[in-house]
Structures are given as C-alpha cells and as structure tokens.
C-alpha cells in the first residue's frame, strides 16, 4: 500500500543550484545601512545631485516607518539587516561584449544557462551579477527602433529627462518601508523604454543573481511602454545557498501608456535563507494591457504582490502567480488590482503549493474607486497542500466604492488526494511520478503561459525534486 510518508517526501525545496563562484568584489560598502553608505553608493555611481537627495530623503522615510507586522514574520529582520552589505560592485564599469566578461562570472552564468539563452538569440541579455549589470546586449534592430534596454545606472546617465520624468512615479518612496529602503540604496536593475507603436516579437530577458554572502540586493527596474507599443520582459533569478540570512528587496515600476501591451514574467528561485520583499507595480493608461506572470520558489519569506493600477478607461490588468513553499518557507504573495477608471477589467489567478511545514498565503486586494463604473474583476486562488502539516491562508481584500461594478472571487484548497494517486499508480505510474504529475497539472494553467524554455525548466525542477523522494 502507498504510505503517507511518500507524500511527505516530495522535495521541491532542496535548492538545486547551490553552487558558489568565488568573487572578488572591487568595492564593498560597510555592513548595515547608514547615511554614509547611501552617500558612498551615490558617489560611486557619479549620480546627479537630485538622485542623492532622493536617496537621502528615502532613507529618512525608511527609518521613520515601522517594520510591517501584517504579513510574514519579520521579527529577525532588523538583526539581518545590520549584518548585510548594502552595496557590492564586482567591476568598475559595464561590459558590452561577452569576451570582456571575466571567466569567473561566465562560469556562474554558464551554470545558469545564460550562454545558451544567448545562442538562441533570445533578445538582449542583461545579466546582473551581484549588484550591477556586467553584461548587456541589445539586438541591433531594436536599437534601430529606438528601444532602450540599459542598466538602470546607464538609463539615468544617458536618458536623464526620460528617467527623471518617470522614476519613482509609480511606486513613491513612502509607499512602504521596503520601497523606501530600495529608494535609498538601489543598485542594478534595468531601464527599458519601448517607443510609440513599436512591437517586439522576442522577449527582453534579464538574468540576475545574488552571489556575495550577506549582500543585499536592491535592484530597481523602470520600464516605460509608450503608446501602442507591445513588449514582453522576462526576468529569472537563482541564488546560491549560504548559511546566513540574506535579503533582497527590489522595486519594479512599469508605465503602460495608452493602448500599449506589456507582459512582465519573473521566476524567482531564491536560496532558502533569503528574505525577498519586492514591490512591483504598473500603471495602465486608457486601453492599455498589463500582465504580471510571477513564479516564486525558494526563499525563507517572500512578500510580493504585483499590482496593476488601471488609470484609464478600458485598461486591463492581469496577474498570474505560482508559489511553492517547502519546509521553513513562507510565500506571502498575491496581487493587487486597483480600478480607477470606467470599463476597466482585471483578473488574478493565484496558485500555491505547500509541502511539509511550508506555508503559502494569498493576499490580494481588489479596489474599485467611485466612478470606475462597469469595472469587472475576477480573482481565483487555488492552494494545493501536500501534507497535513502544510498550511495555506487566504486574505482577499475587496473594497468597492462603485455600485456598477462586477467583482468575483473564488478560492479552493485541495490536497493531493489518495484517489488521484491511486488512479495514476493503478496505471503503472510510480508514486513519485504520479505526484509530480498532479503538481504539474495543478500549475499547468500558468506554466502554459510561460515561454517554452521556462515551462520546461519549471517542470524539470519539479521532476528533479520528486526523484528519490519515495522509499
């Protein structure tokens, strides 16, 4: 008879890419966060005065805000933050050709499959090693079309007006404590501009990776999709395992202008000691279309709620998310949709898998402001529990100020059922494979939206984790 312990042994949380490359950073700020560190970062980046002011103000906001208590357990975080380095820079400047990238870094990328992605000409590869872009390429025809795909630092240097006009407008510094922290110490990330009417068929991809023990990573990404433009941006990350706590807090701002379409795809597979607190938000203008496709694996605690602010009539926002929590992990994720204008539509589909003592929380907000008549929103969150010790919670917040709006919410919790396992095994499928199959089937609605390579990678990850889990 199949035993219950085989169900317990489904291991998706063993971190598989736990290799470490020895890095020799050129510059590293003091541990912890202080005005001095912020000034050093800004000076190192040779930033204009307004950015230094922006950072220093943000630091004050950060210090004035209490640690949030509404989500995951952050009680250890003060201590963690006093021990990390807020800025590490592996190289003095950006590299533009693959040949110029140091062997050590190439080695790391090779393990992550970057060269392969390059071979397949998967658009411009912006690879972030430690805190900064070290390798950045952009396909020529895009340059010709006026597409900008730069590191955030180069965005500030080379496109100062465009940058300043949009930076910090989607996620203001005071939005939350960690957005304020990021605003003070941000380093690395992408700056993307898609000009009016330009449509990109291949996605823009950025890989990045935290590779310095006790190093915080504060990437900042700003994406502007101008009127009628279409594009897809993909970001995947993976980090090596370290024994001490680590911290990541990114801010992603996206501006989708009139009738533009944009999709932002992330798969994050942080090591199991990582605090991952990310603020990502898009504003969507009239007739615009924004999709967040968000996969969260690994980390100790992730708090991340991709948001769409539907500002213009007929704007559409979509959030698809997958979370996996293994032992000792808490994925507190979900999405926010804010309907400001009439005829706006949105949908959130969230799927989570919890195993062992893992915990998944869906936390979502659907807000419809007065005047956003004919707004429609649908939220669906499904949780799959692998064992009796796994936990899932759902916090769907719905605030509706407009009478003429249609908001739906559906939630389901299921366990990998004895009947499902029996059905599959009774066809000769070994139990661990049967479990992998059920899990893959559960995430299929989202996996099928991923670019093929990522879907294969995700499925393979699940398969790998099932191997040797029985008996």
């Amino acid at each position: 008879m199949p035993q219950n312990e085989t169900i317990q042994d489904l291991d998706l949380d063993e971190y598989k890419y736990g290799f470490v490359t020895e890095g020799k950073p050129v510059f590293r700020a003091e541990k912890g966060l202080s005005e001095e560190v912020v000034r050093q970062i800004s000076a190192h980046k040779e930033e204009p005065e307004w950015m230094l002011d922006f950072r220093l103000k943000a630091l004050k906001v950060y210090e004035s805000k209490p640690m949030p208590t509404w989500g995951g357990d952050l009680s250890d975080l003060e201590k963690v933050l006093s021990e990390i380095y807020f800025y590490v820079r592996p190289q003095d400047r950006m590299q533009h050709s693959w040949d110029d990238v140091p062997e050590e870094i190439k080695d790391t990328f090779e393990k992550l499959g970057i060269p392969e992605a390059e071979r397949k000409i998967l658009a411009g590869v912006g690879a972030q090693y430690e805190s900064e872009m070290v390798y950045h390429s952009l396909r020529e025809e895009w340059s010709n079309q006026g597409v900008i795909f730069d590191s955030i630092e180069d965005g500030l240097k080379n496109h100062p007006e465009l940058f300043r006009e949009h930076f910090g407008t989607v996620i203001p510094t005071h939005d939350n404590k960690f957005a304020a922290m990021n605003s003070a110490v941000w380093s690395g990330g992408s700056f993307v501009y898609i000009p009016k009417g330009v449509s990109l068929n291949t996605p823009l991809q950025a890989y990045f990776r935290v590779n310095q023990e006790r190093m915080g990573q504060f990437e900042r990404t700003l994406i502007i999709v101008d009127e009628g433009a279409h594009a897809h941006y993909i970001e995947g990350c993976t980090a090596p395992v370290y024994s001490t706590e680590s911290f990541h807090s990114g801010v992603i701002e996206i501006i989708v202008k009139k009738n533009a379409r944009f999709r932002y795809t992330t798969i994050q597979n942080w090591s199991n000691n990582m605090y991952n607190l990310v603020t990502q938000r898009a504003t969507v203008a009239e007739g615009g279309h924004m999709e967040w496709l968000d996969g969260n694996l690994g980390s100790k605690l992730t708090m991340k709620y991709p948001s769409c602010y539907l500002m213009g009539e007929g704007a559409h926002g979509e959030i698809l998310s997958i979370a996996y929590s293994g032992d000792g992990q808490h994925q507190d994720t979900g999405g926010k949709v804010v309907h400001v204008a009439p005829y706006t539509t949105s949908s959130i589909v969230s799927k989570s898998i919890s195993k062992g003592h893992g915990r998944s929380t869906y936390r979502g907000l659907c807000k419809v402001y007065e005047g956003a008549h004919h707004a429609r929103s649908n939220v669906e969150c499904d949780a799959l529990l692998i064992n009796d010790t796994s936990r899932t919670d759902t916090y769907p917040y719905i605030e509706i100020e407009e009478n003429d709006a249609n908001v739906g919410h559906e939630a389901s919790v299921s366990k990998i059922g004895e009947e499902q396992l029996f059905y599959l095994t009774s066809r000769g499928i070994p139990e661990e494979e049967a479990m992998a199959m059920i899990v893959r089937g559960f995430i299929e609605p989202i996996a099928k939206e991923l670019p093929l390579e990522y879907a294969v990678e995700l499925n393979r990850l699940i398969e790998l984790e099932m191997e040797g889990s029985v008996g």
Binding site: M1, P2, G417, E418, E419, Q420, F422, Y423, L424, T425, S426, R427, G428, I429, P430, E431, E433, M437, I438, R440, G441, F442, I443, E444, P445
Partner: protein, 267 residues
C-alpha cells in the same frame, strides 16, 4: 485455454483500512482462467466494488485474511503500480479528475512505465499507436488533448477507461460498474470497445462487476457469480444472470452465503 488460472482468490477477507472491525469481504473464493469473462453481480453494499478495489490495491481497504494469486505471484504484496505492470487493470466506477494533465501525457507516462529499464518510449510510435487505438474505439483524436476526466460526461469518462485499457493491454481487466451512469447508446459503444479488445487478445480475462443484467447483453460472460454480504452466494453460467433479472436479489436477502469452494464451475 490454459488450465492454470490467471487469478486465484482464496478465502479473501477485507475491511476498510481505518476501521477496527466492519469486514466487507468475508471469505471470497474465485478463480479466473486466461480468456474467461466472469461477471459478479450483487445488491448494493454486497462488497463487489470493494473486491475490485482490493484487487487493484486501493489504500482505503485492507485485506485481513486469505490470499490472492495473480499469474503465480502474491498479488496482495504488490503496490498498485506493480499490479498494473503485472497485468491487472481496474476500470474505475468513478474515474478521477487529474486537472492540467492531458490524456496523451498520462498514457505516455503509463506506457513509458512499461518500457524496459533505461529505454525511452519512441514518441512517434506511441503517438501513432494512440491514434490507431482511438480510431478503433471511434474516438476523436482531439480527445487525447483533454485533461484526464476533467469536466467529462459520464460516458466520456467510461470511454476514457476503455481507451486506457486498450493502450495498456492488461491480462485481467476488472471493470467496476462500467455500465453505471451510461445511457444505452454509450453502453453499447463501451461494450463494443471491450469486445474488440477481447477479440484482439483472446487470452485477456475480464471480471465484470455490475448491479444490472443489461451490460451482460452486450458483453457475454462465461460465468456469473452472485455476491451477497461479502461472499459469493451462487456461481453458474449466464443463466444465473437471467434468473436474477426475473427474481431480483430478494431471493438472497437475509441469506448467509453457503459455504462454497468458489471456483467457477467447469465450462
């Protein structure tokens, strides 16, 4: 037909796994030889579906006494997947939904499990074979892309069971109330599929579990057993089913099953 039985059940007793007492099977004896079609009929709660599940290794039931030998092996010692590979197939009364998993993918995995160690299934051969089987069962090939039993009608679920049976080529197919929930047209389609499979492989044995006689109009059994209160109360030829149709199960009500050697009578 070979003389040695493919399945030999002797004095089998079983209960619900988590219950202390409440035996459901109270000493079942049955022998099935290669190529034979047996039907077990019985009123609700007589234990006939439990017998099907115990044969396939359902974790919700626990054998407490007796033995089951399948092709010379101790069946009760085997895991459900091992039983399947050994040649047992259970057509479920209530096939289970596996959302997000296509029938093609599911069957490919099940067929792959039958490959010799380290050998990969030829995906093109598999695909051709699947198409051929679906054509034989008069199914649209697009069916293979649907998710296993997810949103299927009763008839579709049962046809999906027969498709799996056709792909996995069991030595013994146990069909648990395959007729339940089917209208007469669907029943005929399913029966036709089963008959094609038995024609194709005359050595394949079938154990039909049914409440009603009507299925037996379409799939002709060699032997019919009546199960009452966890035991086989009567065994005979097709005439037993016909008698049941006329008399109903009330003849057996309150009756303790006679002590029986359980083997099917000689053909």
């Amino acid at each position: 037909m070979s003389a040695a039985p493919i399945l030999k059940i002797a004095g089998l007793q079983a209960k619900v796994a988590d219950e202390v007492e409440l035996g459901i099977l109270k000493g079942v004896d049955l022998e099935i030889k290669p190529g034979e079609i047996h039907a077990i009929m019985g009123p609700n709660g007589s234990g006939k579906s439990t017998l099907a599940k115990v044969l396939a290794g359902h974790p919700g039931y626990e054998p407490t006494d007796g033995s089951v030998t399948f092709a010379g092996e101790d069946l009760l010692e085997m895991e459900p997947d091992e039983r399947s590979l050994a040649g047992i197939f259970l057509a479920f009364q209530y096939p289970v939904d596996i959302p997000g998993v296509s029938i093609a993918n599911f069957l490919r995995t099940a067929v792959q499990a039958r490959q010799p160690e380290g050998e990969d299934l030829d995906i093109f051969e598999f695909s051709d074979h699947l198409t051929e089987r679906m054509e034989m069962l008069e199914m649209d090939v697009s069916f293979a892309e649907r998710h296993v039993n997810d949103g299927f009608s009763g008839g579709e679920k049962k046809r999906n069971e027969i498709l799996q049976m056709a792909m996995l080529k069991p030595r013994l197919a146990v069909m648990d109330e395959t007729d339940s929930g089917l209208d007469i047209d669907a029943l005929q389609i399913v029966a036709k599929g089963v008959n094609k499979l038995t024609e194709e492989d005359p050595e394949m044995s079938i154990l039909l579990i049914t409440h009603y006689q009507r299925l037996l109009n379409f799939i002709k059994p060699d032997f019919v057993h009546v199960m009452v209160n966890g035991r086989i109360a009567r065994s005979g030829g097709p005439e037993v089913a016909i008698a049941l149709e006329e008399e109903g199960y009330k003849t057996y009500e309150g009756q303790e099953a006679p002590s029986t050697n359980g083997s099917a009578p000689a053909a």
